[in-house]
């Protein structure tokens, strides 16, 4: 009788949401446990680094790795898992594109440290203490891991076979991916395990999107009330739909809020932010340079909005504030 195939889950710089989405399989997780053995899942089970090192190559079929990479410790782990497992799946926006923590590529390390440990109003730190990689306290030597200079996606560190997009990937996509792996019915290597069309194609509001979309200025949900049925772009709210892959179930749309692009770019797009910029400007109601400039100024924070989840994966990768 053949042993059950083994799977591993590992988390790098993540929030735990990708773990929760697996538990959101609810009753189905009991079925999953019948079909596979979980060889590694730090949040729930006690297997460790030493155990992983003893795995024979191929013994564990697939490693689902979530979270962005920014600690040398994480690099060690993902390289080890790459070595041991025939399949590595980048699970969730952070591993796929850098995710929300990737926005840190927009700020300098100095700002982050100084802000957190010195400038914020509740911090009482007259000595200017800052956490150290190595320090002595009352004679005791203590260590903390250091950080990299930038947040990286998983495929910027190791070779990745497949991507499961989303923040987090919805449980049904997770189940489909596991099934595809167990049945050996996978698309070509490097594929994103989600539909190829943009969100607009699946959107419940697509019928209200006009043939010729035209936007005069951008509105903010803070100071206006979105209609519950009309296409967000048609209403004047920035929605990442046209530049974002579908497959998420359009949950944000059903929550009456516009898409923020967590599923990442559609196939063939090198840069999600550049694509949405192109779309929303092409349809601007502006026929002079001045009108185009005014239009652009109605949208605050293009970088943080267009690259909310994908800054490390973008062509420019992050904003440049200090030369090396």
């Amino acid at each position: 009788m053949a042993d059950k195939p083994k799977v591993a889950f590992y988390w790098c710089a993540s929030c735990g949401g990708c773990e929760e989405t697996v538990v959101d399989l609810h009753e189905d997780i009991l079925k999953v446990v019948e079909l596979v053995d979980i060889a590694l899942w730090p949040v729930a089970l006690d297997f460790k680094l030493k155990d992983v090192k003893t795995w024979q190559p191929g013994e564990v079929t697939v490693a689902f790795i979530n979270g962005a990479i920014r600690l040398s410790e994480q690099e060690e782990w993902v390289k080890l898992l790459r070595e041991k497992c025939p399949l590595v799946v980048a699970f969730g926006s952070c591993a796929h594109l850098g995710g929300i923590p990737g926005l840190a590529n927009d700020k300098t390390r100095r700002e982050i440290l100084a802000n957190k440990y010195q400038r914020l109003p509740t911090v009482e730190n007259p000595g200017g203490t800052v956490p150290q990689e190595k320090c002595r306290v009352d004679g005791y030597e203590l260590e903390l891991p250091g950080f990299w200079k930038q947040v990286k996606t998983l495929d910027q560190v190791i070779d990745v076979d497949y991507y499961l997009p989303g923040c987090p990937p919805p449980p049904n996509l997770v189940a489909d991916a596991v099934t595809a792996i167990l049945e050996g019915k996978l698309p070509p290597k490097g594929s994103v395990l989600a539909p190829e069309k943009s969100l607009c194609d699946a959107c419940p509001r697509k019928d209200s999107k006009p043939e010729r979309l035209s936007i005069t200025e951008f509105k903010r949900v803070a100071t206006s009330i979105p209609d519950t049925e009309e296409c967000f772009l048609a209403q004047g709210y920035l929605c990442m739909g046209p530049a974002t892959r579908s497959g998420c179930g359009e949950r944000c749309i059903q929550g009456n809020m516009p898409c923020r692009g967590c599923f990442g770019p559609t196939p063939g797009s090198l840069d999600q932010g550049a694509k949405i910029l192109s779309t929303i400007c092409s349809v601007a109601e502006a026929d002079t340079a001045e009108a185009a400039a005014d239009y652009a100024d109605t949208l605050a924070d293009p970088l943080g909005t267009f690259y909310r989840f994908s800054l490390p994966a973008s062509l420019l990768g992050g904003s440049r504030r200090e030369k090396e």
Partner: protein
């Protein structure tokens, strides 16, 4: 000395109907202009996806020129209007990336404006020269790192 001077690399996306022809005219007229421009012919300035601009800057360009037909003269009617609408938003975005606006230029250059092409290239080259090399990949995206004492 001239040999040590920084020579900017400027990628120029030129529309086939107007600007590229205008550039040819500068050439056939033997109008002098700096050799810093790398021309790429596109069918319409509207073809210039912002992705191209970013890729150029990320891959070593110090500046980018986009040139198309004057508004109203686009061979495809509306193409250059799309470019016109994208441009200010792109500059706002590049601001946030820490890339000086002056590195990316949009100009309307018709097929008969060879002199204008040469003047634009000359002026843009000097502007970018003064800004210095971008060297995007030589500088890491500045991000959260703990500094050891």
């Amino acid at each position: 000395m001239a040999e040590d001077q920084f020579e900017p690399k400027i990628v120029a996306f030129l529309c086939r109907w107007c600007s590229y022809t205008g550039a040819d005219l500068a050439g056939t007229s033997r109008t002098e202009y700096p050799p810093n421009v790398i021309p790429i012919r596109v069918m319409c300035s509207g073809r210039v996806d912002p992705t191209f601009v970013m890729k150029a800057l990320a891959d070593g360009a110090d500046g980018v020129l986009i040139a198309g037909c004057h508004p109203g003269d686009c061979h495809y009617q509306e193409g250059n209007y799309k470019t016109m609408r994208r441009y200010p938003m792109l500059l706002n975005l590049l601001d946030q990336f820490g890339i000086e606006r002056e590195r990316v230029r949009l100009e309307w250059i018709s097929a008969s404006e060879g002199d204008l092409f040469a003047a634009v290239v000359k002026e843009l080259t000097e502007t970018v020269r003064a800004l210095g090399p971008l060297e995007w990949n030589a500088t890491a995206p500045a991000a959260a790192v703990v500094e050891s004492a």
